[in-house]
Amino acid sequence: MSSTEQGTSSAAPAEPTTAPESAAAPEVPESFYYVHGKDKVVHKVSAGALQHSALIHGMISNLGYTEEQAKANPFPFENIDGDILQMVVDWCNQHKGKPTPPEDTNLPKQKEKLFDLVLAVNYLEIKELLTYCCKQVAMMVKGKSPEEIREIWMIPTDAEDEAAEKEAKKRAGKEAAGETAAAAGDAK
């Protein structure tokens, strides 16, 4: 299992000599968690950065993992492509503890990537990033005709849709019939 070890710089313990306000209370070391997507590449992310995701925040809030336990139990997100999870992790790190700006121009411009990102962000419940994503998806069709919108948003026509549905129904019916026949065979 490989690890990209995201955000390790902020994990380094503070040097006592570099701490200007020695009288201040010692900083609580930040805890880190690990996540991986479909590609199994593990990303190390601080709890602060993960707070953006309501889903992960809910998962880790009562865990109290030690560093070793967290490393041994990365959160699996099999439904998210590795590069998309990387984007999400990067965004969470960049916006850790910061107020989110009104605009975010770093979202992917390619529609397939944006589509996957929207689904991932929705699943991980990252509200601010989802707002940007929805805005970006809307911006894609600004000033475009219905035909262009159909192409940009990769939408089949209603007729195509119906034909595909009929086809799928037929296929599902055949599959079901096949399985019933197999079951009957098993029973014999």
Binding site: N79, K111, F115, P146, R150, W153, I155, D161, R171, A176
Partner: protein
Amino acid sequence: MPCKLPESAYSNPETIQKFVLYDVLQGIPPDIGFQRLCKTLRQNLDYPKYEYLYYQFYNGNPEPDMPKSFSKSFSDLPMELLDGIVGNLNLKQRFRVRRVCQNLRDVIDQHKSRLKIFKVSFDCEKRWNILKVDDLDQKFLKKSYKKTLKLLGNFLKTSSHVESFELKLDNSEGSKSVLNMLRDVSMTSLNVENAKISAINTDEALEILGFFEPGELKKIELQSERGNGNVRKLVEMEQFKLAESVDIRKFRVFDSELLEKFLHFKRFVVKVNSISKENALRLKNAILEDSGPQILSVSLREQYDLVEILDHLEIDEESGDEGFNYTYFTQKIPNSSEEIRLEFHVAEINFSRRISNNVFISLLF
């Protein structure tokens, strides 16, 4: 206890759909439900198919067909996401997106939007009718309004709030259709903030006013070409009682006894037959009662006795006159930074409360 049913009895597509429905009903997140189901069935199911079914049930479709395809189509995104995307589109763009496919049409028709402007104007003297809803600005022919009205009805039905609602109705068929459309969409009250209604049939104007949520409606402006509006009916309406500003100067000229029904407003503009010194004093006292800016404007059909009113209001010092147009008086309100100002025009008296000129100047410097 191990299940004695053969595996084929619970792993066919129909049964799997029921398992997914169970996960939705139990509020189990799709990823966890998927993992559990794979484990239980000892099968590697297809996650996109599971997730598709999950969101079909979640979004209220009780009988989803198995997915047609898993192409990356934005129209297949969950409804709440599509709603978020649609919320970023202006009205013109929504019209275009609406024409793309049935799914997006449904999303747009159900999207709760906030409209800034909703204006429909039927004018018998003009060839065109005017329609303006936010950035959508159209002129349409007298006879070709039906399709537009249906869309307008949808927009109104799904709008959570309308900032400015402006309607001008004549006696045409189109106007009647607008009224019918409003009757249809106002099964639940419309959240309108400012309403300006001009109608030949003033009962219709009041009926339309009744469609708006009382308390939400802050500003009312009514006009009638014939000046025959029913003010007695208006003042009994909840929408009127809970509003902050009303302008019915062009709705009807009425007797000043009814002015007492207007004293709670921050601003009103009315026309009365005449004003007695007692009613003038009531207006002055109403201004003194509430703090904050107020403007009460009373137009008069008949002439008034300036000296008698001034005497009754206990104002004896003239502050100035604006040329030959009007005379005005200001009086400092005790224990306040505000003053009362009275303007006497030829056929109009204005009472207002505002920050005192001296205080205003000191604020400026």
